[in-house]
Chain length 360, copies 4
Amino acid sequence: MIIVLERGATEPQIDQISKYLTSRGIRFERMNGRLQTVLGIVGSTGGYDIASLATMPGVQEVVRVSSPYRLSSRSAHPEDTVITMPDGTRIGGTAPSIVIAGPCSVESEDQVRRTAEIVRKAGVRFMRGGAFKPRTSPYSFQGLGFDGLELLKKVGEEFGMYIVTEAMEPAQVPAIAEYADIVQVGSRNMQNFPLLKQVGSIEKPVLLKRGAASTVEEWLMAAEYILAGGNNNVILCERGIRTFEPSLRFTPDLAAVPVVKKLSHLPIIVDPSHATGRREFVSSIARGAIAVGADGLIVEVHPDPDRALSDGAQSLTFELFEEMMGELVRVADAVNRPLLVEPLHKKDGAFVRKPSSVQQ
Amino acid sequence: MIIVLERGATEPQIDQISKYLTSRGIRFERMNGRLQTVLGIVGSTGGYDIASLATMPGVQEVVRVSSPYRLSSRSAHPEDTVITMPDGTRIGGTAPSIVIAGPCSVESEDQVRRTAEIVRKAGVRFMRGGAFKPRTSPYSFQGLGFDGLELLKKVGEEFGMYIVTEAMEPAQVPAIAEYADIVQVGSRNMQNFPLLKQVGSIEKPVLLKRGAASTVEEWLMAAEYILAGGNNNVILCERGIRTFEPSLRFTPDLAAVPVVKKLSHLPIIVDPSHATGRREFVSSIARGAIAVGADGLIVEVHPDPDRALSDGAQSLTFELFEEMMGELVRVADAVNRPLLVEPLHKKDGAFVRKPSSVQQ
Amino acid sequence: MIIVLERGATEPQIDQISKYLTSRGIRFERMNGRLQTVLGIVGSTGGYDIASLATMPGVQEVVRVSSPYRLSSRSAHPEDTVITMPDGTRIGGTAPSIVIAGPCSVESEDQVRRTAEIVRKAGVRFMRGGAFKPRTSPYSFQGLGFDGLELLKKVGEEFGMYIVTEAMEPAQVPAIAEYADIVQVGSRNMQNFPLLKQVGSIEKPVLLKRGAASTVEEWLMAAEYILAGGNNNVILCERGIRTFEPSLRFTPDLAAVPVVKKLSHLPIIVDPSHATGRREFVSSIARGAIAVGADGLIVEVHPDPDRALSDGAQSLTFELFEEMMGELVRVADAVNRPLLVEPLHKKDGAFVRKPSSVQQ
Amino acid sequence: MIIVLERGATEPQIDQISKYLTSRGIRFERMNGRLQTVLGIVGSTGGYDIASLATMPGVQEVVRVSSPYRLSSRSAHPEDTVITMPDGTRIGGTAPSIVIAGPCSVESEDQVRRTAEIVRKAGVRFMRGGAFKPRTSPYSFQGLGFDGLELLKKVGEEFGMYIVTEAMEPAQVPAIAEYADIVQVGSRNMQNFPLLKQVGSIEKPVLLKRGAASTVEEWLMAAEYILAGGNNNVILCERGIRTFEPSLRFTPDLAAVPVVKKLSHLPIIVDPSHATGRREFVSSIARGAIAVGADGLIVEVHPDPDRALSDGAQSLTFELFEEMMGELVRVADAVNRPLLVEPLHKKDGAFVRKPSSVQQ
């Protein structure tokens, strides 16, 4: 924090501000210029709401000069965080870019298995699927709950895929973490602080979606809650922001990828399905995401999107998904960050989680 | 829903769309024009994601023509909802506009009592105060928890004031509802659906703040969750929206007041403290809110804002608060909606909740 | 400008920055703290783009601490600017709030005269009307041009009303200023710098509408162009900003009124017609504008809004206009800023511009 | 347009609406459903503001079902517009993606020549440079004017490069079109309708930048003005939109590229320099733009960005520019849309405009 005093600030005014800070245990130093005086705060502000200083007589402006997040900042942790899954598959840093694919909601075993088969054949190692669904309307399908999780886990094991699924309330987290390999915190819950604290206490990686109207700073502050709880394995996920432009459901903020890379060490992926809301735009935004440097993607795929119980309009058909994967491989190579594409392996009649050949 | 078909839509295409609808149990009727055909959907869409129809061959556009909320809509409930507190004080409809005032966070008994005394003397019957605080930073003061609730309840009873306080997670709701007269759902939790369902099951009125980047429609959908749970006593609260304008913390959306009044029967109040973030602008926005037709206000007041543990910059001093109340009384009279200002009564040495003399 | 150096900035780095500034003739002073050094720039930056300094080695952040506008700032001109019309009618400061009313576009003599008669009877002294229309579509009605101006001038003189009309390009300004009493710069032209320079060179007051996506700072910078050209009579006009909320055409930013009052000495009025886009919301926003402290209003009125060639949906009928005026008088009195309502006078068979009796 | 009537609309109401339409010469047809009636408007609405119909009794909603732009729409012109420069270089369609590079402002002959040499060596055929500058502040450098144009033209001819430069007011357009090969309409002038009409009357292609807060629809309507004037050679340019996110100057809306490609036949390029405002993010957004399918890029390059008179912070150094070009070639190949990179040719001691070898 830097407190810029008015040009005409009087000594009694400066004295009063100094006393204010000292009485709260806030250390500062005074820098006297010829025309203007500046007070630089050294160290912590002790939880006090320093912004309110701006209203004191003699103060021109209070300027924050350090970022409010610490553990999630690049300056605190210069190396990229790389998350290692049980079989050695890595996310972030210089590891190959990952793709997470699957249906919006788990609807039936048949739907999940058909989708898993297609995406696994295309080399994908991570399957998404919602069992508890945050729905804008109380009258919309709310998910299969734990039955859905059972299905996901079963099919995931069958095909050697990691499961990514969402937790909506703190009390659910421990149970969901039993099923999920990566626990998702959804966009609407980005500032659900009790939930953030809860996922901060588990061992599994957390996929933290950006709130549709949250700044990058607020997002990194939300990650800070998880890191401060002891869980360092946070993957950020950009999923479109709310702007004035109505042609898509949200505006994909691809620039957030290099911005986050500069400010933080955490891996960041992009969700082109929610960001656009329409399947015809998913592939192009996916290519753009890889080109700007994302560590991966999460996309919705459905065997019969027009019959989907949720998000049908934005789910890729199998054909579109396969076409997209081909394009992504080429763009990923062009930016020297190959896509993780691991062929399907069967051993003794079962698919197995085999370390990727693409990994270095 | 109205499905507008392309001018050149063929009969086989129309047939396929018809089958799609019929197979999902969705009733519709066909309106044939000379140049164009339109399908009007009758009744419920059964939870199906009809938007995905827009991608079917022959469809030009899918247009939603009815609002997605039902219980919270004005058309379903033409009369204003009026909430009646235990002593007969009413909120909404033609009842006098209310003021809810108090500190952002409960910090100490002395702070709460001094504030209560001032606001109660000014005629205020509702005291706000946070015991569980949603804070952007994990390093900020997180509230006194249940100790804070005890304090609020004690002081509230002493001064004959109703207590308004926030619940942050579903599991807390029953306990908080023991202390609070009105349970607040904060802005960041507007789409925390498990929390909405939980407050839908209690008896106490709920103050539902608008998400800083939520549309009025999403807000009424959030209210719908509470009403659908059986709790009809929802008070909406506009608290500023996120826009490109940086001069204030948020942009107060005062137009949301008449818009909500048209679309819904629920009472709506305004929070000028969070909407502006700076105390010097609170009074003018409060006057504006009353002038556009709000059913009340919620404002932050603190005996020593510069020492506040949260939101000091936006809390009114006692002097500014009293000045504002005087102005509000005049504006409220000018729009024929007097402010509820009930003098402090003592009976047998104690303050009592006495029905307001201003009420009709 | 304050240049905050990194904690570890080296002397050679500081030396390089110092040379950079000195070589451009920029004066600065160095403030040494124990941990951190700050360079404060004294006086002008000579047109250099100082923001680019942020990329130099050793620099942590470049912070602008003074507003970029000078002539339009409150600090440069602490007293309110009050604009005096030829007959003594004043706008701004403590003068009564004004109302400017009339049709969106001039369509016919009958339309203008009927409207003028009604609004003048209600005490209004300023008539708006567009002769050159900025239309989003090239296929929409583009205005009557100079024929429209003739009509406005003629009817304005007949009823003793001042004319407010828009100029769209620099070359038109001198001719339009012959007809208009106040020349309007429209929202889409707020940063049409050649036009701003041109209206800066005329004698007539300028009504400068805020761009729908312009910050208050950009707006005051646009005013600065006019003031820098020598024309001090600028009236700012808030007309709704572009946000994510779709229920109205724009979101009226009523908070901009007190914000502008703090930052600038210029009068500010509000346009509730364009801000809402729907006549049913015009009156409430007009009341709100007066309550937050606006110096006046500009509203659209049409004898038959459903037949209007432009903006019919937001134009008030005569009945709604008269009802609104009654409400505004009460709200204006409540905030101690009476509305300028001057009865129609006829002398020797003609209406005359007579100094208002409400003025102090 | 489709007029959806209320479920309870009465025959007299429908009659009144019918008369309203008929009296304005608007043809419609009535589609009777069992529960609800819909009126479909056939053909033109004759310039009438049909939106105002929404306020008539019996009307539930007025829904626009066709786009308001015609000439710029994909449906009116299914094939991509390809612009051919005098030497056969093509822009749009399946032609190689172009790069336009150069300084923000023309400052001196030395600056322009050094920049031209570097970008031309990298294979670039189009040079940007501002001679008339729209500046937010009246105190900032306003450009060299026609002297700057002379410089651009001279250096452009020397190196065999086409010149792209901005026109700010209608009266300037004919003169600027003498110097420029492509005339730019800047972001702030996207809805400067007199300027749009003027550039609609020239022979040279027009680069139309998107307004920072303009929707894609408004942008295509602005293009419509130019096409309606008879100039079909419009290149759209996305340059960042205004959102709540403060980390960059604007938010690059890369999704606008595929959205525009779907709605319109016009070529679209991206400006990563203005979109981000910081040179360190230019390359990644440029890669993203090519990956999502843009027809080209426009970037700022300066021999000494820290000494630039404008936009220094966002201008690439020569080193960064060359590095970016190498990356773009690879990404462009990956999406099967090679970059136009044409080696520098000298003939008889002079550089010549030679048809690109990359073109098909």
